[in-house]
């Protein structure tokens, strides 16, 4: 829109309304953080207090001392990092093969991967559970990790980005005697470093946030992920709101930090997944 319309009263009103909406939208987040920093008595005190009367970290200390949240953290970090690394690794190499190599069954493989978008992973919970039980992986990291390795979108995105790299690079490198693995590691991946970061962040966030599968496969107190575990604290301590919200803030912290650090990449990855997924 042209500039002369920007400072009319109507425009100013719309801008202020946007800010008001944004503040209201983010208010539950603010309220959760503030509540977690109050004492339990202040939390249920009458009246609306937008800031704590007495700032305290006691809820956080309580949760750290009295629940296995640090173990859950470890489980979440290990499983989310392994899922991210493995998904990126197997998808990049498969995407490279689909894009750069000619072999029989290539079209079929690509068709199967595209078709697999249609299968809702939630429909597979029963057979995934049976499979993990057969492997003896219930309540283990492997059990949490394995079914989450199926992320077809990553392979497709890699194939499309590798397709767009000019063939000259490859020809020249092959002339110099480079192998395909060094081509992938030295040229194709570094040239798509931005895409790789974006895909890695969204995979990590997805794995960290996943509820249904870890909830089914990791039920013992020491094998849960943070995302699942925090609901246990809620059940165990009933109406201790500050403690409950302290666990929520702790569970959300890694993904929120990841988002704030890599805002641009997260945005990019949402676009990437939408353009392929839909």
């Amino acid at each position: 829109m042209s500039n002369r319309r920007r400072f009319t009263p109507v425009e100013m009103t719309i801008t202020s309304a946007s800010f008001l909406c944004a503040v209201l939208w983010a208010f539950p987040l603010y309220w959760a953080v503030v509540t977690s920093l109050k004492t339990e008595t202040d939390v249920v005190a009458p009246g609306l207090h937008l800031l704590p009367q007495h700032w305290t970290l006691s809820s956080y200390l309580f949760v750290i001392r009295n629940t296995p949240i640090l173990i859950w953290y470890l489980n979440s970090i290990v499983t989310a990092v392994v899922i991210t690394v493995v998904v990126i690794g197997i998808s990049a190499s498969c995407g490279y093969a689909l894009s750069q190599l000619r072999f029989p069954g290539r079209g079929l493989l690509y068709a199967i991967i595209v078709a697999s978008f249609m299968v809702p992973i939630q429909a597979l919970i029963v057979t995934h559970f049976i499979l993990m039980a057969d492997f003896g992986f219930i309540n283990t990291w492997a059990g949490v990790i394995l079914p989450q390795l199926i992320v077809p979108v990553v392979t497709i995105v890699y194939k499309q980005f590798f397709d767009s790299i000019p063939k000259d690079y490859r020809e020249a490198a092959i002339l110099d005697g480079a192998s395909h693995s060094s081509l992938l590691l030295r040229i194709y991946l570094p040239m798509n470093w931005g895409v790789t970061t974006a895909l890695a962040i969204i995979t990590f966030i997805g794995a960290w946030n996943n509820f249904l599968w870890p909830f089914l496969v990791a039920t013992s107190n020491n094998s849960m992920t943070v995302t699942v575990g925090i609901t246990q604290v809620h059940d165990a301590y009933g109406v201790q709101y500050a403690r409950t919200l302290a666990t929520a803030v702790m569970a959300a912290l890694p993904v929120v930090i990841a988002y704030l650090l890599f805002q641009k990449r997260v945005t990019e990855s949402v676009m990437l997944s939408a353009c392929v997924k839909g």
Binding site: M1, P28, I90, C94, I112, M118, I130, I230, A274, G278
Partner: protein
């Protein structure tokens, strides 16, 4: 590559390069298959074991009376006949449809509205406002649950100020069959609209500014601009967002399980929860698999439509 460094002798150098490239290409083609096998193997193995096998196994189980762990007998289509008469299952289909109705179109409208608001802003104001709307999208469902369970708490929840202003009294929203599903839908919109906002902002950016300038010169008002420029040009994106939402919201489980566990009086009991409960609480792997297969068929059909929408979008 010594010949390349001799500027006085360019022609042989080119010959050499072409010949070498041809040799290289031939060698590359011969080794392609072996390399391809190595590059694909890890992905293919994961896919076979963790995706194709479980899918086929689900189809097989749906025709048996197997428990969750252990084998059962082939019983033909009996599971499906049972589902057709099972009030809990039929209810779960209806509740899922109700949830889809409450979320898909409102979430798309909210996404477009906020995207238009954010798109007007410039500089840091824009990133801050966008951040406020987007952050909920990166949170785990359990965190969303804990935040809103507290905000909507009947006794101490801050949202009860608003609810009291509207209804005259505090309401325990997740204990009321009337309030529960709309509230879960509201929380879901708050949680997921960040995704839609981003897609819409990208779509809005593709609309050329000259169109609006020309319309402004012709004296077109704000609403006229929206109706004749923004809406028709953003429509393909809108269709895309709606199909993505439709497929996503059909798979609802987390919010319902956490907020209400399907209650009160099964008023929020949805399809994935039916699958979960039959398999993991009732120990009926076969019946759960047939419900899962039905969900699978519905979503596969919708995905085909989604691909068509994408194709239309690509063609434009």
């Amino acid at each position: 590559m010594a010949p390349d460094s001799l500027p006085t002798d360019p022609v042989p150098a080119e010959h050499f390069k072409d010949a070498a490239a041809a040799v290289g290409r031939r060698a590359a083609r011969q080794s392609d298959m072996r390399v391809a096998a190595l590059f694909i193997a890890p992905f293919a193995l994961a896919y076979l074991v963790l995706f194709i096998y479980p899918t086929l196994k689900m189809i097989e189980l749906s025709f048996t009376n197997a428990p969750l762990i252990g084998s059962g007998h082939f019983i033909g289509l009996r599971n499906y006949f049972r589902l057709a008469r099972d009030h809990l299952f039929l209810g779960s289909v209806i509740h899922t449809a109700y949830f889809v109705l409450l979320t898909v179109i409102p979430n798309t409208v909210v996404g477009l509205g906020i995207a238009i608001l954010v798109n007007r802003l410039k500089g840091p104001a824009r990133s801050v406002v966008l951040g406020c709307f987007f952050i909920p999208y990166v949170l785990p469902s359990t965190v969303v649950y804990q935040i809103w369970d507290w905000v909507l708490d009947r006794q101490f929840g801050v949202a009860q100020i608003l609810i009291k202003a509207i209804t005259g009294q505090p309401v325990s929203v997740f204990d009321s069959p009337v309030w529960a599903m709309p509230m879960i839908a509201l929380v879901t919109i708050w949680w997921t609209s960040g995704f839609n906002i981003l897609i819409f902002i990208a779509g809005l950016r593709n609309i050329p500014d000259d169109l609006y300038d020309a319309a402004a010169l012709d004296g077109a008002g704000r609403w006229r601009c929206f109706a004749s420029i923004t809406w028709p040009l953003i429509w393909p994106v809108t269709a895309l967002v709606m199909t993505i939402q439709l497929i996503l919201q059909l798979k609802i489980f987390d919010q319902v399980y956490l907020f209400t566990d399907g209650g009160p009086f099964n008023s929020t009991y949805v399809m994935v929860q039916f699958i979960y409960r039959e398999a993991f609480e009732q120990n009926k792997g076969g019946l759960a698999s047939s419900a899962a297969l039905l969900l699978f068929v519905v979503i596969a059909a919708l995905s085909v439509i989604q691909f068509q929408v994408l194709k239309v979008r690509g063609a434009e």
